[in-house]
């Protein structure tokens, strides 16, 4: 079983450790609701070092990425060094192999992909890269710490005074590098914050400094409720290789503007949409009591019209919320089969929560 560099810090902070994609990771450090609230009101930190960082160098780096992923990295060049782009990586059938963030840096492109998809991602990327003049460099020498919450950036700035306000003025979805440490104003919580990629040798010191500054260690449990409130997909649940981007609210990361650009899955994606997409992704809110869960069926007029792909209790809203894939004609209200009982739910647009506030 793999352990990240932060493992001893998790144990010191009384983490409950679970197996996640071959890694021993903290699920929570006591109360996942308190961790969730810390991120919504102050600052929390997440060890996400199990995610994969791959740097892409070489003269073909740009054209390779334009072919590999559904969003167009040409946009990054226009916005300038530091900019980040969220994208899908599709297979030839137009299903989602993974979702990822690509950063445009002065040393090339940096890809951050999921832990659960690591083996297949790497095999796929290597296979696709054979015709391109590029070099892939996995960065296992870097740990990743996500520091998230309304006070996150201010706290990191105080710990890193030599950055002299550069973090505070960093634009959302942008990054900067400082002596081998990479600061990105990105995240998976719906709050402001940073994802910090730091040399393994310096990682525990940063953790300690943040801990002493009142940043609350948060586990995978809180990470899941935060991202669900933020309406963000979780790979393997809200989408996978059998799901078109059109069915999981990822059309916005499939960029067809440059008609001359060919990318993997483009033809299948266009064909699928030409047939007329019948389902789409929505949010569900249960105003009654109980908790919506992945796999529960959505029902309208006694017909099954969809399925919940992620469900939980929302610590911010104090009610249950879910992400579901349902037939498009169903709007307003529907029901969910919760252990044999049909419970009414309201159909809303995600996200549910942004910057600490209800937004649906």
């Amino acid at each position: 079983m793999l352990k990240t560099i932060f493992y001893p810090a998790h144990i010191n902070a009384n983490a409950k450790i679970v197996e996640f994609s071959g890694w021993q990771m903290p699920i929570s450090y006591g109360s996942q609701i308190k961790e969730h609230e810390a991120v919504r009101t102050n600052a929390g930190m997440f060890d996400v070092s199990h995610m994969a960082i791959t740097d892409i160098h070489g003269t073909d780096a740009k054209v390779f990425l334009q072919y590999l992923i559904s969003n167009d990295v040409a946009k990054l060049e226009k916005s300038g060094v530091g900019k980040a782009l969220y994208s899908g990586m599709l297979n030839h059938d137009g299903g989602v192999i993974d979702d990822l963030i690509v950063y445009y840096t002065d040393f090339g492109y940096r890809l951050v992909t999921n832990a659960g998809t690591y083996v297949k991602d790497m095999a796929w990327i290597k296979e696709q890269s054979s015709k391109f003049n590029i070099e892939l460099k996995e960065r296992k020498d870097l740990a990743i710490l996500a520091v998230q919450g309304p006070n996150a950036i201010n706290i990191v700035s105080k710990i890193k005074p030599h950055l002299d306000g550069k973090l505070v003025s960093l634009k959302p979805f942008s990054s900067l590098e400082d002596n081998g440490t990479f600061y990105a104003r990105t995240g998976y919580t719906g709050e402001d914050g940073l994802e910090i990629m730091i040399p393994v040798a310096d990682a525990l010191t940063l953790w300690q400094q943040l801990y002493q500054s009142g940043v609350v260690p948060c586990g995978l449990g809180a990470r899941d409720t935060l991202r669900l409130e933020a309406g963000m997909n979780l790979y393997g649940h809200d989408m996978d290789e059998t799901i078109s981007p059109s069915l999981c609210n990822m059309d916005w990361v499939v960029d067809l503007k440059d008609e001359s650009r060919d990318f993997i899955g483009k033809d299948a994606y266009i064909k699928f949409n030409a047939l007329g997409v019948k389902s789409h992704q929505v949010g569900l809110v249960m105003e009654g009591r109980g908790v919506l869960r992945e796999g529960q069926k959505v029902v309208s007029n006694n017909q099954e019209v969809g399925v919940i792909t992620s469900g939980t209790f929302s610590p911010t809203l104090k009610i249950s919320i879910a992400i579901a894939r349902i037939e498009q004609q169903v709007t307003g209200y529907a029901s969910v089969n919760v252990r044999g009982n049909l419970e009414p739910v309201r159909i809303v647009k995600v996200p549910f929560v942004r910057n600490g506030k209800q937004v649906f």
Partner: protein
């Protein structure tokens, strides 16, 4: 932690010592620890006749839903409305204020077949 006067079942419910022929039922400290922050508890209804190992409700945390099994056979006499309104009571005081429901036993001798505190501790590796 595990009261010597209580009895336990391997589905992680406890049964308090007898008051006449009525017992109190709850989930164990170990169960609440496994589940994490509790957010929803559904209990049987007063007057409901329940059997040993019947699914009589559900205990849900943020991360998981877990069936609630009856550790005894009898008739439900009382529910803990406080824990329904604030499920975290079953996290903070699972063996006291976080009790779930009370049952008038069909027969008292059934308690003899349940685990003692010592046996339960062995079962959960405590």
């Amino acid at each position: 932690m595990y009261n010597d006067n209580f009895k336990f079942v391997d589905t992680h419910e406890w049964v308090s010592s007898l008051n006449g022929d009525v017992v109190t039922v709850g989930i164990t400290h170990h169960a609440q620890e496994l589940l994490g922050d509790l957010v929803y508890i559904e209990l049987p209804t007063v007057g409901q006749s329940i059997g040993f190992n019947d699914v009589v409700g559900v205990v849900e945390s943020v991360k998981a839903a877990s069936d609630l099994y009856s550790p005894v056979s009898g008739t439900v006499t009382e529910l803990n409305e406080a824990v329904v309104n604030d499920p975290t009571l079953a996290n903070t005081a699972p063996h006291t204020d976080g009790w779930l429901f009370r049952v008038k036993l069909d027969n008292v001798s059934q308690l003899d077949g349940l685990m003692t505190a010592e046996q339960y501790k062995v079962a959960i590796g405590a």
